[in-house]
Symmetry: C2
DNA sequence: CTTTAGCACTCTGATCTGTCGAGTGCTAAA
DNA sequence: TTTAGCACTCGACAGATCAGAGTGCTAAAG
């Protein structure tokens, strides 16, 4: 995904690279179009403004920068940011404090969703951007046990525990009345029969068995199975949630100062389905994913970028965490933060998994 | 609370009242300052603009309306809205469609928090304002049963059911390892001992007993009690949550068109503690509560108003639902909607309570 | 061939101006 | 008590002007 734009490293030789890098860095830092003069003054080039102007004109021809209007300085295009990120950026190392803050927050939580929320919140604060967590569907959750608690005449709390320690529960209403003993037997049976399988396959297997065995008229079996289907179907949608943290942080960003842009950005956040779709694609890629403006249907038109990393236990990805912010952001700082959080979460998950399976 | 401003009905006699009413209605409808001329043109007064100007000047002296600048029309002040609501407003009756929409949404949900969220969302949509639900603390939840489910070596899912059918659960981590049988015994004991009491008193009673009986060195008793305290303390904070729905709806309101106001409004929503404090006061009052601009610390400075109603079972209030919007809103339409939803929710709760206690 | 100084040109944004229209308050007449 | 008339105020808007920033191009210098 990252390289789909086919910008090869050798497309830009020495001086132009340096100039582009400097433009991105300066623009990210100050938010104003970069003029040839200010570049010259930066002292990083032994060149006059006039020469720099030539280089900048070339960069513009190549589509790495543009001018908002005729007599303005240059601003990086999405393509410019992309090249910067792929070839020019020097990631900043995390400070002690950043590492500690993240670690502290991550170990503060207990349940999966709590940890995720805390993580994205701390990320939002450290980067000053909008944090997000994506808890994917539980389709592939490997079931370890199913339990039931009676909470009313026809209401049963179903508890599903995954091998990774995730606990999901849901109250479901039943047609028939169950006794405590029946319920506990049903839980034991379903656990014995289906533990070790993924929820999705449990579901289909249950439906299949229910279909095949209809002829048997085994009342208990049928009831139990139907209850099981209810559980699995009630519990599965629990994941697949997207949390957005600190959306108000964009209120203070100069690029969203005018009402119109602000409004657009907020509306963008409302379109969670789009975002979910994109994150669902990214979840298969390792490492930090960066999507800049036009590179994704979610961020295009809004001057937004997405920086996200997946988390999960070694074998299987679980979901994504990351941030959304204006295309003009400190990628060199944000990317390592997101990456670190992703790792920290994964570590936490693996730990609790081991603990669970001892 | 509603009358604390001490505006007596007789403070305004016939003509002035009519003019004030018309000003509020017109202003709410169009959002522009109302001029003497437009009032005259409305046809509701057999008076010339000049006469109306006199009346309007009086209203201004009394503090019911003001001019944004010298040569502008009049706009109601908070005090003007207050008088309008208390004495002049004719509540619109709900349409068939509105009633049906609310009823449908309310009966769609099952668990308490789900129902509340659905309710506030439908309210937000119908009124085009920002919906909110306030689930108060569970301190006064009357416990019906406590159950435990093992979900790991040292992790226990605690399930507390209230007499009103509310189900709360939380995973807690324990120091010691419990067996299934021990857990089920502990659950039975705690249920027998404390059911029928409020969580808050259960908590203090447990702590007291734990303190008194320390000398006894009854290991089982101590473990069970400590677990119980863990449950109650883990579960209580579950309520007391405030959900805000559809905050983006204010993006489309003309009074929040400029970036500055928009920003302020959003920041206001972030200050949930303030809002919670106010709602906590309101929860003791019956009927629809309306707080206009300066009347509450939350809404002042932001040109916001709060319209809320409490819900709960007959005996005890549970929480509040309502909306937040610009002071300029159709109170005559919004208030009945909020009231209706409050009633619908209460009815739903009472129903499920009865069902529960059969 | 590359770099740079110089210069004309363009565009933005701030400031000022004058005009128009809306709306008021006041006064005096009905 | 009501109303017509009138002077006055204010905001919004459209032009006009101007300074500043920054560019592109050309021609000279290295």
């Amino acid at each position: 995904m990252a390289n789909r734009h086919e910008i090869r490293e050798d497309e830009l030789e020495g001086r132009s690279r340096d100039v582009l890098r400097e433009i991105v860095i300066q623009y990210v830092a100050h938010g104003e179009p970069i003029s040839s003069r200010s570049l010259a003054k930066s002292g990083r080039f032994a060149l006059s403004p006039a020469s720099l102007r030539n280089v900048m004109a070339d960069l513009e021809d190549l589509g790495f920068v543009y001018q908002p209007h005729t007599s303005a300085g240059r601003i990086p295009t999405d393509r410019g940011y992309r090249f910067f990120i792929n070839h020019l950026m020097r990631s900043r190392r995390l400070t002690q404090h950043e590492r500690e803050t993240i670690d502290a927050k991550v170990s503060e939580g207990h349940e999966l969703d709590e940890v995720m929320q805390l993580g994205s919140r701390v990320l939002a604060r450290l980067t000053n951007q909008v944090g997000l967590v994506f808890l994917p569907t539980l389709d592939h959750l490997v079931m370890r046990s199913i339990d039931f608690v009676m909470v009313g005449e026809r209401r049963i709390l179903c508890v599903v525990v995954g091998t990774n320690g995730v606990v999901v529960n849901k109250v479901i209403e039943t047609e028939q009345i169950w006794t405590r003993d029946e319920l506990s037997a049903a839980g034991a049976y379903l656990t014995a029969e289906f533990s070790g399988m993924e929820l999705e396959s449990i579901r289909s297997s249950m439906l299949q068995q229910l279909d095949q065995e209809r002829a048997r008229f085994d009342e208990i079996f049928n009831r139990t199975m139907r209850l099981g289907v209810g559980v699995v179907e009630g519990v599965m949608p629990h994941g697949s949630e997207l949390f957005v943290e600190g959306a108000t942080s964009i209120l203070n960003k100069p690029e969203f100062a005018d009402a119109e842009t602000m409004k657009k950005a907020f509306l963008a956040f409302e379109e969670k389905e789009k975002l979910v779709r994109i994150l669902n694609l990214c979840v298969n890629e390792a490492g930090v994913q960066i999507l800049i403006g036009s590179e994704s249907p979610f961020t295009q038109d809004y001057n937004l970028s997405l920086v996200a990393a997946r988390y999960g236990s070694g074998n299987s990805p679980l979901g994504m965490v990351g941030i959304i912010g204006p295309t003009r952001m400190e990628y060199a700082r944000v990317a390592p933060l997101v990456e670190y959080l992703g790792r920290a979460l994964s570590r936490k998950i693996e730990e609790s998994e081991q603990e669970q399976n001892r």
